[in-house]
Symmetry: D2
C-alpha cells in the first residue's frame, strides 16, 4: 500500500535554518565543550545552542504527548537504567523525543541517520543541554557517518541496552562490528519502511537475536503520516516553492490512496478543480463518490496546471506526458519513491534546466515552454519541510512507548521476532494527543461494555481495523 514515509530515510535535504557558514574545519577536528565543561559530543558549533533551544521550544508546543509523558515521569521513571543508542534525523522534533527519553530516566547517545538532515543548531542545543550525547552535523561524509555511529556505540564503560533506529544503519553496524552487544540489548525500535523490511528479512533468516518493534505500521502513525499530514503539506509545499494561487487551478492527482485523498481534499477545498487517476477500481469508485473526475493521465495532461504523483509506483509521469504539458505546468511528487516522475528523461541536451529558487527548477523546451519541477521529483513535503510537527509527535510518541514496552516487558512476552505495537498502545498514543484539542472521551458503562463484548479500557477495535 502506498504511503508517504514522513521521516523515512528518503529524507534528502532539510530546510534547516542552519547557516551554511564557511567554517571549513571538520567537527571531528574541533575541541568543543559545553558550558558545564562536558565535551562528550561532536557537532558543528556549540555557540548556536541558544538558537537551537528556541527551535526546540517551538516544537515542544506541538508535541503534547511527549510533554505529558515527561510530566508523568516526575514520579516514576519507566526508562530508569535504560541506555539507549539512537540513529535518527537530528531535528527540533527528534530533540524533543531525546530529551523526553532522558526525562523518563534513560541515558542516550545519538547519531544522525542522514548526512544532510541534521539541524546544526539543534544538535548544539542538545549538546549544551548535556542529556544526549550527540554526534552529528549537516554535510557529513560517508566516513563521518559511520564514525559518528561508532562513537555512539563504542564507548569505554558504557554499553547500550536499547536501540532506536530509523533506516537500519545503526542496527546493521552493531550486527557487523559488535554482535556480542546484543546479549545485553532488550530490543530494537525501528520506524522506517526500509529498516522494517531489513528486520523482517533478518527474522526470516533466523538471524534476529532480539525482539524488534515495527512502529511504522501502527494505525495512528499511518493515518497521520498520510491523510492528515498530506492534506496540509501539499498546500504548504506548493505555496513555499511557487506562490501559486489554488483557486480555479486544474490539478491532476495520480493515485487515490491515503496520500492522494489528503491532497485532493485540500486542493478541492481551496477551489482547485481536481482530476484523479487510479488503477484500483475500489479507490477509483471512492474518488468518484468524493466528487473527482476519474481520468487517464493522457486525457487531461494538456490542460492541467499542476500534476501531483501519489502512487508508490514508478514512471507514472513519463517524458511523453511532460512533452504535452502546457507552459508553466507544475510537477511534483508526494508519493513514496523518487521514481514516480521520470526525471531522468528530462536530462537530455535539447532541454535547458534553470534553477529559479531552492527546490524549484524550470525545465525549458526548445520552443520556450517551461515546466516547473519541484524538488527534482523527490518527496515534496520532506524536501520543503512542510510536515507538521504534530504529525511527528504521533510518531515520536509511538517510538517512546515502544521503547518503554520493550524495556519493561516481562521475560517471554516478546521473542526474537518483529512485532507491531499492541493495539491498546496505539490507542494510548491517540489518547495522549486528545488533551491538545481539549477533547473529552466518553467511557463505556459496564453494561455497554458487556453488550459490545469489549473491555472498558480498550482495545476497541480489532487489530486489522484501519
Amino acid at each position: 500500500q502506498i504511503q508517504n514515509p514522513c521521516l523515512g530515510t528518503e529524507y534528502i535535504q532539510s530546510a534547516s535554518y542552519t547557516d551554511s557558514s564557511d567554517d571549513e574545519t571538520s567537527p571531528r577536528d574541533k575541541q568543543q565543550k559545553n558550558s558545564k565543561g562536558n565535551g562528550d559530543f561532536c557537532i558543528k558549533n556549540i555557540k548556536q545552542a541558544d538558537f537551537g533551544r528556541r527551535e526546540i521550544e517551538i516544537a515542544e508546543q506541538e508535541m503534547p504527548a511527549l510533554m505529558a509523558l515527561r510530566k508523568r515521569a516526575q514520579g516514576e521513571k519507566p526508562l530508569a537504567g535504560a541506555k539507549i543508542v539512537g540513529c535518527t534525523h537530528i531535528t527540533a522534533q527528534t530533540a524533543v523525543l531525546m530529551e523526553t527519553l532522558s526525562a523518563l530516566g534513560a541515558q542516550c547517545r545519538w547519531a544522525a541517520c542522514n548526512i544532510y538532515s541534521t539541524q546544526n543548531e539543534v544538535a548544539a542545543a542538545l549538546a549544551e543541554g548535556g542529556e544526549a550525547h550527540v554526534f552529528a552535523w549537516k554535510g557529513e561524509s560517508e566516513d563521518d557517518f559511520w564514525w559518528c555511529i561508532d562513537r555512539c556505540v563504542n564507548v569505554e564503560g558504557w554499553q547500550p541496552n536499547m536501540i532506536l533506529d530509523d533506516g537500519g544503519d545503526l542496527t546493521h553496524w552493531i550486527y557487523k562490528k559488535y554482535p556480542s552487544m546484543f546479549k545485553k540489548i532488550k530490543g530494537i525500535v525501528e520506524e522506517s519502511v526500509t529498516g522494517v523490511h531489513r528486520l523482517y528479512q533478518l527474522s526470516k533468516a533466523g538471524k534476529l537475536c532480539v525482539p524488534a518493534m515495527n512502529v511504522n505500521d501502527s494505525v495512528t502513525k499511518q493515518k497521520f503520516d498520510n491523510l492528515y499530514c498530506c492534506r496540509e503539506s501539499i498546500l504548504d509545499g506548493l505555496k513555499r516553492t511557487t506562490d501559486v494561487m489554488f483557486g480555479g487551478k486544474q490539478v491532476v492527482v495520480c493515485g487515490y490512496g491515503e496520500v492522494g485523498k489528503g491532497c485532493c481534499a485540500a486542493l478541492k477545498a481551496m477551489g482547485s478543480i481536481v482530476y484523479v487517476t487510479e488503477i484500483d477500481p475500489i479507490c477509483a469508485l471512492q474518488a468518484c463518490m468524493d466528487g473527482f473526475r476519474l481520468v487517464k493521465l493522457t486525457e487531461v495532461i494538456r490542460q492541467v496546471d499542476i500534476v501531483i504523483t501519489c502512487t508508490g509506483n514508478k514512471n507514472v509521469v513519463v517524458r511523453e506526458n511532460l512533452d504535452r504539458m502546457k507552459n508553466g505546468c507544475i510537477v511534483c511528487n508526494m508519493g513514496h519513491s523518487n521514481t514516480e516522475i521520470d526525471v531522468a528523461s528530462l536530462r537530455t541536451p535539447e532541454l535547458t534546466w534553470e534553477r529559479v529558487r531552492s527546490q524549484v527548477d524550470h525545465v525549458i523546451w526548445p520552443d520556450g515552454k517551461r515546466i516547473v519541477l519541484l524538488a527534482e521529483g523527490r518527496l515534496l513535503n520532506l524536501s520543503c519541510s512542510t510536515v507538521p510537527t504534530f504529525v511527528l509527535s504521533i510518531t515520536a510518541t509511538t517510538q517512546a512507548l515502544a521503547l518503554i514496552e520493550l524495556y519493561n516487558a516481562p521475560e517471554g512476552r516478546y521473542k526474537q521476532d518483529v512485532y507491531l505495537l499492541p493495539k491498546k498502545m496505539d490507542e494510548y498514543v491517540a489518547s495522549l494527543h486528545l488533551p491538545t484539542f481539549d477533547a473529552h472521551l466518553t467511557e463505556l458503562s459496564d453494561e455497554q461494555a458487556k453488550y459490545l463484548g469489549l473491555n472498558k479500557n480498550g482495545p476497541f477495535k480489532p487489530n486489522y481495523y484501519r
Copy 2:
C-alpha cells in the same frame, strides 16, 4: 465494528407508495393470473403491475452494474440451470436483481424477508413479468410469512440449487423442514449481519453442509452502506420528516465510525455546527483532525438542536439526557440497533406522545417541552426509505456475483464453510459501477506491475485493506 445495515432485517416499515386500500381479502384466498395466464405467485393485486413497472424502471437507472451484467449475458448465461430460491425485501431495487438473475439464466422463486417491507406494486410487476415467482405482500401475518417461504421451496417437480437469503429465515426453514434439499444445493449467499452470524454459528457447530458466501463484509458494500450512504440519507431523512433547516443548527453525533463520519461530513457541509462523542481514542482523534469538537454528551445536551446516534451500542441516549434537551430537539438513530436511544424510558405516564406525521412523534413533557423523536428510535434511513438506489446496486451486484461464483466454482474450491467474496470480485463489483461516472481506469504497464509485485488485473490491495 459499527455499521448501518441498509438492507438488514431490522427493516421495519417501508415508505412504500403502496396503497393501504381497504381490500381485506387475504392474497392467499385470491385467484390471480397475470396477462399470460400464469398464476404461480401470490401477491396483493396484479392490477398494480404498471405502476410497479415504472418504479422498477426508475431503479434500473441507478443500478448500472446489474444492467451491465444483463448485457453481457446476451452471449453467455452464467446462471443457466440455476434454480434460485430467495428471501429478501421485495422492492424496486431487489426486483432489478431478480430480473437480472433471470436474464443470466436462472429460474427464481421469491419470498419476503420482512412482513412490512414489500412494495405491493413491485411484487405485482414481477408477477406480471413472469420471470420471478413471487410470494409476498405488505402486512403478512407470521403464519403468512412462513407459508410464503414454503411456497417457494416446496414445489412439485422443482428443487432449488442456490439460496439467496437476507436474515437467515429461508436457510433456517430448509434446515428444519427439508434438510435433504441441501444435497443439491451448491451454496448460500447471505447479506445480513444476523444471517451471517447464524451461518458462522452453524459452521462452528460443524452443521453447515454447503459453502456460504458472506457478502455483508465485502469492502465495497461496507464503504457504501455506511460512509457514502449515510452522508446523503441523514440529510434526506431529517428533511422529509421535519423540514429542519441545517444551517447554523447545533448537532451532536454519537459515534465516529463510518456512519458517524458520513453524517458529520454532510451536516458540516450544510452549515451545521457538529459535536462528536466517541469511546475509541483513535476515532476520537480523527474527529478532532476533521474539525469536530469531541465532547461528552452531557456537555452539550442542553444546547443542541439535533441528536444522532451512530454507535452500534445500547443506551447511548438515556432518559436523563432526554430530560435535559431543549424544547424542539430532534432525536434520531442512524446506528445499528434500535436500542441506541432508550425509547422505552419515554413510555411513562407523565409524558404525552403525539404522532404529528408519519415517523415523527412529539414527546411532550409536563412543562410543555417537546422532543421530536424520529422513527421511534429505529433506523432513520430505513424507516424513511432514504437509502439511495445506487448504494443498493453495489449490494445487489455483489449478491449476483457471489451466486455466479458459487454456482460455477469447480469442485473443491469452496468447502462447507463461510467465505468472504474474493478481493478480486470485490474489485470487479467496483469496476462495474465506474462507467456510470464515465470514469476511466488506468492500467498498469508490465514494468509497473512487476515493480509493484502485482498482477495487472488485480487484486490491487491486500485482503485486509479497508
Copy 3:
C-alpha cells in the same frame, strides 16, 4: 438580478398534507362555526383544525423571531388598533405570522393570494383559533378568489387601516372597488417581485396614495431566499422527486448568481462534479475561483446527469439541448420564471410524456431515451415545498416589522412613495434570529464606535451593502 422568489406568486401547488377528499360542496355554501360559535370565516372543513394546529406548532419551532415579538408584546401592543387585511399564501408559516400580528394587538382578515396553495387544515386551525378571519381553501375558482378578497375588505362596521399583500391583487381590488378606503389606510406592505413592480408603477404614475414598504429587496430576505435557502432546497427537491444519489454525479448549473452559488455549493459538498455556465464575466470568474469548470452548455450536455437552471433568463435549456442529453438526465429549474427550460418544445407528437410520480415526468424519445423533467419546469423548491421554515421566518418577521413601522411612524416620515425597510430594521430582523443559534453579538465600545464613525446600535453598513 436573478432571484428565487420563495414566496412569490409563481407558487403553483403546495405539497400540502391536505386531503383531496371527495366532499364536493363549495365552502361558500357551507355553514360552519368554530367551537366558540364564531362563523365569520369561510374555509374547507373546520374539523381539520387539530391537524392544522399541529402543523402550526411545528412551524413555530423554526420561527423564533416571531415568537420573540409575541413575548415582547406581552407588555406593549405595537399594533393595538391596527386593522390589517392580508392576502398571502395560507400555510403553517403565514399562520404563525397572522397569529403574531394578533398577539401584537392587530385585528386581521385574510384571503389567499393563490388558488392552489392554501393548506386547508391550517386555515381550519386559524378559524378555530378565532383570531384571524380566514377566507380561503385549496382549489378556489377565480370567482371564489375575488369573492374571498372581497369578504375580507367589505365588512359592515370594520374598515382596514393596513394592507399586507403578496402579489398586489388585494391592493388592486381596493383601488378598483373601494378607493375611498385609502383615506384611513396607513400603508401597504408588499413582498413579491410582481407586487413591488406594480407599486413602483403606481408611484411613477403619481397614483400611489399611501406609503408602501418593499420588503422583497431587504438584504436579509435576499440572502436567505436565495443563497441559504437554495443550498438546502436543491438537495431536498431532487431527493424527494428522484431519490438520486449525488455522489459522483455530473451536474451543470446554469447561472452563478446567489441561487446558483447555493446550488453549486451544496452539490459540490455532496460529491457531485459541478459545471457552471454564465454570461457575466465577474460571476464567471467567481465560479472559477470557487472551483467550478466554466463551460458552455453544449460542451457538457451529452455527459451530465442533472441540469439545473438558475438564471432568471428564458430559453436557457432548449429542445436542441434536450435532444442531446443522455438517457435518465434530470432537468429542473431553480431560477425565477418557468421559461428557463423551453418545456413547450417538448410538447410534440413524437415525444411521450409519462407521469411517474407527483412533480416528475419522464419525457420519452422515439429511441427510448428518457429525460426526467421535474415540476414541468416550474420552480422546483416551491413546487415541492422544500423551502425551509426558517427562511420564511426571515420574510415574515420583515413583514411584521414593516407593518409596525408604517403603523407607528410619525406623520411625515413616509410619503406616498415606495420605501425599502430602513437598514437598521433589516439588522433588527437579523438580530431577532440570532438567539436561535445561541449567538452572542459583540458590542462596540464608545471609543471603537467613534473610531469607525458608527452609532453603537447600528446601522453598521451603508445602505447599498449586500
Copy 4:
C-alpha cells in the same frame, strides 16, 4: 466596510529574496550603466538583473491578463505617446505592469511608494531591460524617498502626461512642487485607500485639477483582494511563520466581512474549529448559517489556539484578552490597520519579547506563558508576502485599463472629479482573466438580451452590485 488592502501603503516589509549585503555605498553615489550603456536610473546593484528577471518571469505566469494586453498591443498601441510617471511598490508583479505599459506604447519613469518594499533584483532587471527608468532601492531614507520621486518628475525635456500613484505621495509632490505640470496631465490613477481618500478631499475642496480614477473600489479588485486572497494567504501566512497544524485547532476570527469569510472558509476546510465574533447582526447571521459559532471574544479566549483579527476596527484584542490566552496561542492580524491588536499594551516591563523567527515574536509572561505574535500585529499577508500573484494581476490590469481609459477618453467624458472604473471595464478585467482557467463564457442571444433588457456585451449588473 472592512478590507484587506493587499497593496496598500501599510506594506512595511517585503519578504524579498534580496540580499541585505553589506555594501554600504548609497545608490545615489554610484555610477551604474546597464549593458546598453544607459544610466538613467538609480538602483542598488545592476548585477542582480538576471535574478530579478527570473522573478519577473515567474510572476508573468500568473498575470495572464497583462500578457494578453501585450499581445493585443502588437497591432495597436493604446498608450502610444503616453508619458507615465509612477509611484508604486517595486516588485516582480509591478514590474510586469510597467513592462506591459511600455509594450502598450508608454514611456515610464518610476519611484517606490515605500522605503522598504523594493525588491532590488527586480529594480535591477527593470533597469537592465531599459524600458522603465527606475529610481528605488530597499532601505531608502526619507530624503532618498523624495529624491527618487523628484528624479522621476523633474527631467530635462520630458514631461509626464499620466500619473499612476499608490498612496498619493507622487501626486502630492507634483501639487506642491510642479503644479503647472497638471496642464499637460490627462489623469491620475490611484489604487490605495489612503490615496483615494486624499483625492476625494481635493475634489471636495475644489482643488482637483485633472480627472482621477479610483481603482481601489472596483468590484473585481474588492472581491479578489479580500475573499479569495485571504482564503489562501491566511493558511500560507500561518504556515510560513509557525508551521502550525490546522487540523483540530480552535480558532477565533474577529470580524465576518469578506476577509473574515475567506479566513473562516479556509480554516474550516483544513479541519480547524472556528468561532466568529461580529458586531453587525447581518454578518453575524451569515456566520451562523455558514456553520460558525458566534461568540464574544471573552467566551472563548481561554481555549483557542489561534486568534485572527479582520475587523478594520481598533483594540479588538486588548491586553486583558492577551492575559487570558493559553500558552502557545498564536495572535495575528488580517484586517485593515495595525491597531486591531493592542500591541502597545504588550510593551511593559514584566513581559519579555523574544524574536524567534523573522515576523515571529514570543511574548513571555512572568509565569512562563508564551504568546506567539506575528508581524508585530501588522498585516500578516503583506508582512509575509503571501498575496498570490494572480490577485495582484487583477489590480494591475485594472490600473492598466484605467490608464488607457483616461488617456484615450474624448474631451469631456471625464471632468475634474474622482471616478470609479466603468462597470463594463470591470467586467472586461474579469473576462481577461478567464482564459487562464480555460473558462468559456456563454453569450446572450438577441432574444434573451431583449428579455432581460441588457446589452449583449454587458454591463450585466447594476453598478451597485457586489
